[in-house]
Symmetry: C3
Subunit: 270 residues, 3 copies
């Protein structure tokens, strides 16, 4: 995938307006719905077993975010993943706080095991914790809470393990975003240091990843590129994280292919 | 109702600061509470059977929004509607995603059947789906998900059916807002094309409809006029949907009678 | 505690980045998480019994906010308070709407009874209702809904009762913020009249109170000082409550010790 494919994916989202079904956490429901609308997609938030089958039938992708988990919601998430499998739709897993509790670690793994077409989007600490001892690496997750304490590079080995073990793509987001697939790694150097001061920025990336997966990009690259560039444009205009949250939505809404290509910093470039 | 009645209603909300009880969806709880505060009303969000009776006793109106439904919340919504009936308080129904799942369609109809003093506020697709075959029209809802795919005019026949069947008022919101009552239709041409890119804009209209119902406007007209004008003022100042969301709250807070009357575009005018 | 101690507390939050565990209401989860991030702390939102023990073990404080209560969440709140006690961590109670329903009044009292190291942060109406007849004062709460109808001064006697009865600190927030401890009262005159037009402003204060408690200020003073000054800076830049909500996050993020000390209006001064 190169920069032209990324801009083509952006155009595809805006033209197809894919429906993205989200079972996500209470904290970020508003942000992620707004992020999806701003980029041109159509968000649906639903969690009742009584309607998930109907909703999944006409949705283009499923985003499962475990940020405020409990038993009832976890069962619904797994049910929704099975429905996505039945309809051959991609699933984005956001393992929020994976490693901070065994509930989150185990839930993330159950969802990852269940999904047939999977993209995992997490910060470095979450990716390392999700891989766990299986990664065979010396790395151990430092996460307490839901904020990353590890640099993205520290999670690459873990991500490679997840790619092999689950047949998934993995997006490690952080100061650098690293997209890990069976074909290797792509690194993105967009974004801004102020972004972690807005809650749910990673959750918004996961939601956008669902929109791009629905139009064919199951690597996670296009979403990371778009959010990285829009975030950096927004941060340049923002006095703090409050402004950033809204300027990001404006930047997503206004982002054009020319700006995206000009700003994009990725390696290997092509 | 004419423009003077609308500005009188706005003054009444600001003077009486009506308490509006909301059982609403997780996505928009923050927006709708802020919308109510900005216009001068006092929002209460509650959903426990253990307190709804007490809360309804001193609230001026009930807003029921089915945006993230499940069985438990639906039972609580119906219970709250019965309490509103007991206290002779108006009920605003926001049938979010009606037609997108049978759960939403059936739930919307159960709530509409139950309420004695009812205002229905939905987009065209939702209104058509709520009326269903009963509308006796050739129209069929196009809704997938929660975003409208039909123009407001396409839902007028369905809205007339709902007015007859439930004895309600109906607000079809969209590019044009159409207020349908037993006395006919009023059309509003305020608002802005950017508004659907902010999640929960319709939900905010439903919440405001509750505030105006609490001070006596059970048609839905005053709320639609106020949100349409405030939304168009806000959009003129906004680079995108992120800015719009906050500028709308500022515009609601600052809206004066003179601006409202000058900007208002409605037919039949009088 | 004087202004130097307050600025020292602000520095401590930014250096230690304390983890604050929140069981809070659906309306304000996003605001309060963003408020904590903006000031330099790390928010965790969790409510499952399956992970609260692990989460509490590494958190610096617990914030319990009863804004959208139901039986299940109330049990989890009490469970979390017991865990905080076990780990000798401070608990902030935000008794949202206390007095508006017996569920809220009783729940607030159960939580206050249970917590060993307690800070209560409420508006005047909530504090008066929480103390109830026990206050032995002539005061009776005027609260309907969740907005304060009493001035802060009217709640001082009730707050003194709570301090004696629960061994807690009490922050009465309002036009004046009054911090009541066993050592007497401190009054803060920062803030802005526009702040009550943003939903969850008090909830954000409670969340920040948790961050400051985690670094050693269990009076609630530092949080009230920081939010009061940041809120007044933000309001001066805001055309309405929509702008205020985001400018507040920017102001919290940018607040420096010099500005804080210069702006702070408190009595007794020292």
């Amino acid at each position: 995938m190169n920069t032209q494919t990324i801009t083509a994916a952006l155009n595809a989202v805006r033209e197809q307006k894919p429906l993205v079904l989200n079972i996500t956490n209470y904290v970020v429901m508003n942000n992620t719905a707004n992020g999806l609308l701003a980029i041109g997609a159509s968000p649906i938030m639903a969690h009742s077993r009584d309607e998930l089958a109907e909703m999944m039938a006409f949705s283009g992708a499923l985003v499962v975010n475990i940020g405020t988990p409990d038993r009832i919601w976890i069962e619904r998430m797994l049910f929704a993943v099975e429905l996505a499998n039945f309809h051959c739709k991609p699933v984005v897993l956001d393992p929020v706080g994976c490693g901070a509790s065994s509930l989150r670690t185990e839930t993330s793994r159950r969802i990852a095991e269940t999904a047939n077409c999977l993209i995992i989007r997490g910060n470095a600490s979450e990716i390392i914790a999700l891989a766990g001892a299986g990664a065979g690496a010396e790395t151990a997750a430092n996460n307490k809470g839901v904020d990353a304490l590890d640099a993205s590079e520290a999670a690459v080995e873990a991500a490679r393990y997840l790619v092999r073990h689950y047949g998934s793509s993995v997006v490690i987001s952080g100061e650098a975003d690293i997209i890990v697939t069976k074909d290797g790694e792509i690194r993105l150097y967009n974004g801004h240091v102020m972004m972690p001061f807005v809650t749910g920025m990673g959750c918004t990336l996961s939601a956008l990843t669902g929109a791009f997966a629905a139009v064919g990009d199951t690597t996670g690259l296009a979403a990371a590129a778009v959010l990285g560039v829009a975030g950096e444009i927004a941060a340049e205009q923002s006095a703090g994280p409050g402004s950033l949250q809204l300027n990001l939505l404006d930047a997503l809404y206004r982002l054009d292919a020319e700006t995206l290509m000009r700003r994009l910093k990725l390696t290997p470039s092509n």
